[in-house]
């Protein structure tokens, strides 16, 4: 009898059956061995890293705020880039969002707009920044255009999805009055997507503040440029001050964006 009733409780397997669970765990282990062996990570260097981390920490403390003008200038530039890019993104994402909505755009336009979104979303902001730096030279203009490009793609995608989710009743009702395409968008679509779009735009402003801190790594302006420069000069205590500044800026931006979006709902 005791063979039928197990005496100890075992948690149920997460992946359906126990065999499947063992297979998943085995595959994960095999992957781990394979990936670590191909990466040829040097264990000695990894261990030496812990000592060097303490060393780096010692050089970062205490953070040096004596050059705060430089810090404030960089942060201001980042914020300005983020603001201007979000605004440009909102304006330019409207046509893209409408073009990428299946229920409004003709088929070829829809496919072209979706293709642009897929390709545009693939590349990290830093990659896009390199190209804008090549085209417009070093400085915040390249950063602004990078963030604006990324915002247009992101906001366009979100807007398209919101438009595809609108209720078709109002659209049919407005269409039945003989409205043209512009009137259809203004009277049937805009009232349904406005609140969500404002929320997405504020979320994107927050994301742009985050990304404005890194496009400077490739010379596209903002606080990232200051950070990158101080790091390459081994100016670690100033770098620590910049890092604290970035954390404060990003945390504040996220908190504000959460607060506004809660108010909107």
């Amino acid at each position: 009898m005791s063979a039928i009733y197990p005496t100890a409780w075992r948690p149920p397997p997460f992946f359906g059956t126990r065999t499947r669970q063992r297979l998943v765990i085995g595959a994960a282990l095999a992957y781990l061995v394979w990936s670590v062996s191909t990466l040829n990570v040097d264990a000695n260097r990894a261990l030496a890293g812990f000592g060097r981390a303490l060393d780096l920490l010692a050089r970062m403390l205490p953070p040096d705020f004596s050059r705060w003008e430089l810090l404030v200038k960089g942060m201001k530039e980042s914020l300005q880039m983020a603001f201007a890019a979000t605004l440009a993104g909102v304006v330019l994402s409207l046509p893209l969002g409408i073009a990428a909505a299946r229920n409004l755009a003709p088929r070829p336009v829809y496919l072209a707009a979706r293709g642009l979104i897929v390709v545009g979303r693939t590349f990290h902001e830093v990659v896009i920044a390199i190209f804008f730096v090549k085209l417009f030279g070093f400085g915040p203009v390249a950063g602004l255009l990078t963030l604006a490009f990324a915002s247009v793609i992101f906001l366009g995608k979100m807007l398209a999805e919101d438009i595809e989710n609108v209720r078709s009743g109002p659209i049919e009702a407005v269409r039945a009055t003989g409205a043209g395409f512009g009137q259809l968008v203004v009277y049937a679509v805009v009232p349904q997507v406005l609140t969500r779009t404002v929320g997405t735009a504020i979320y994107r402003l927050d994301a742009n503040v985050r990304h404005s801190t890194i496009v400077g790594i490739v010379g596209a302006g903002g606080i990232g440029q200051t950070l990158s420069a101080s790091f390459s000069r081994y100016d670690h205590d100033f770098a620590a001050a910049i890092l604290l500044g970035i954390i404060a800026l990003v945390a504040l931006g996220e908190w504000l964006s959460d607060w506004v979006r809660r108010r909107l709902r």
């Binding site: 948690p11 997460f14 992957y31 781990l32 990936s35 670590v36 191909t38 990466l39 990570v41 040097d42 260097r45 990894a46 890293g49 060097r52 981390a53 780096l56 201001k76 530039e77 914020l79 300005q80 880039m81 603001f83 201007a84 605004l87 897929v118 390709v119 693939t122 590349f123 990290h124 830093v126 990659v127 390199i130 190209f131 090549k134 085209l135 417009f136 030279g137 915040p140 203009v141 602004l144 985050r210 990304h211 801190t213 890194i214 790594i217 490739v218 990232g224 950070l227 990158s228 790091f231 890092l243 970035i246 954390i247 990003v250 945390a251 996220e254």
Partner: protein, 269 residues
């Protein structure tokens, strides 16, 4: 009489009250002022915009046709990029669980530990993967190890925040049931709470992995391994035909990882 009635009952329907209209316009004004301030202070050199389209056309002509003979050289870095993302995410999952329990109001020990947990979350999330890469290259030297550490450092906060929210929303029933069997705190966490938050953990992990593949593609710019090094080197050599090949390769792995991630998340929910 009729004038008073007219005041109380306006002849024209308006959607917003006068107060709402004023507040709405104040918001518009504030946004306009902020944008004017940001655009004017950036010192935009509009001259650069005049020949931008020619520059872009020139760049495009230099990139075409892609030099496919470069592709075999970047297969290994492409795999390395995916490894960095996967191993970094795996480390982040392991570290995020204790952090999530520390940062959730109902499982943390006291106010101080909660503040420590929340502080770690904010620090991890606020610093971008690329900046973490900069830090870890200074610690581990250039190479994929720094990249893995950077991905892990950024993802820990992301995963732990969402899991901590799931822990705070976990149902009381299972927790009380496990407690009534005389289980210790750790047993309650592992048997009562963990199974409830596991779907959230797995969903966010897969989602984060897909973001991390994209992030790993640029970690090479700060020397933290992956395909970014080859992209950066090709750009610096003005080898634009190679750049196009690398960009196509990145497009392929990012789109593939997004598709895999979307498939798994659709299966879970």
């Amino acid at each position: 009489m009729s004038a008073a009635a007219g005041k109380r009952h306006p002849g024209l329907w308006r959607r917003h009250s006068p107060r709402e209209i004023v507040i709405g316009w104040l918001w518009v004004l504030a946004v306009a002022a902020a944008s004017v301030w940001s655009v004017s202070a950036l010192d935009i050199e509009w001259l650069f915009f005049q020949d931008a389209h020619e520059q872009a056309a020139d760049l495009a002509s230099r990139m075409w046709p892609p030099r496919w003979s470069y592709l075999p050289q970047i297969i290994a870095p492409m795999i390395e990029t995916i490894h960095i993302a996967t191993l970094g995410t795996a480390i982040a999952v392991v570290l995020s669980l204790p952090l999530a329990f520390l940062a959730a109001r109902n499982t943390t020990a006291n106010g101080f530990t909660w503040a420590v947990g929340r502080g770690l979350l904010v620090a991890s999330r606020s610093v971008n993967t690329v900046i973490w890469g900069l830090l870890f290259v200074a610690i581990f030297g250039p190479g994929p190890l720094a990249g893995i550490a950077a991905v892990a450092a950024r993802s820990v906060g992301f995963l732990a925040k969402l899991v901590a929210e799931a822990i705070e929303e976990a149902g009381r029933g299972p927790i009380e049931a496990i407690e009534s069997t005389g289980a210790g705190t750790l047993q309650v966490y592992l048997v009562g709470i963990l199974p409830q938050v596991l779907p959230v953990l797995i969903g966010t992990t897969v989602y984060r992995w897909d973001i991390n593949v994209r992030e790993s593609s640029v970690l090479g710019f700060v020397g933290a391994g992956g395909i970014g090094i080859y992209l950066f080197a090709s750009i610096n050599q003005f080898a634009w035909q190679q750049v196009l090949v690398v960009l196509i390769a990145i497009l392929a792995i990012v789109v593939a990882s997004e598709a895999i991630s979307a498939y798994i998340r659709a299966r879970i929910s």
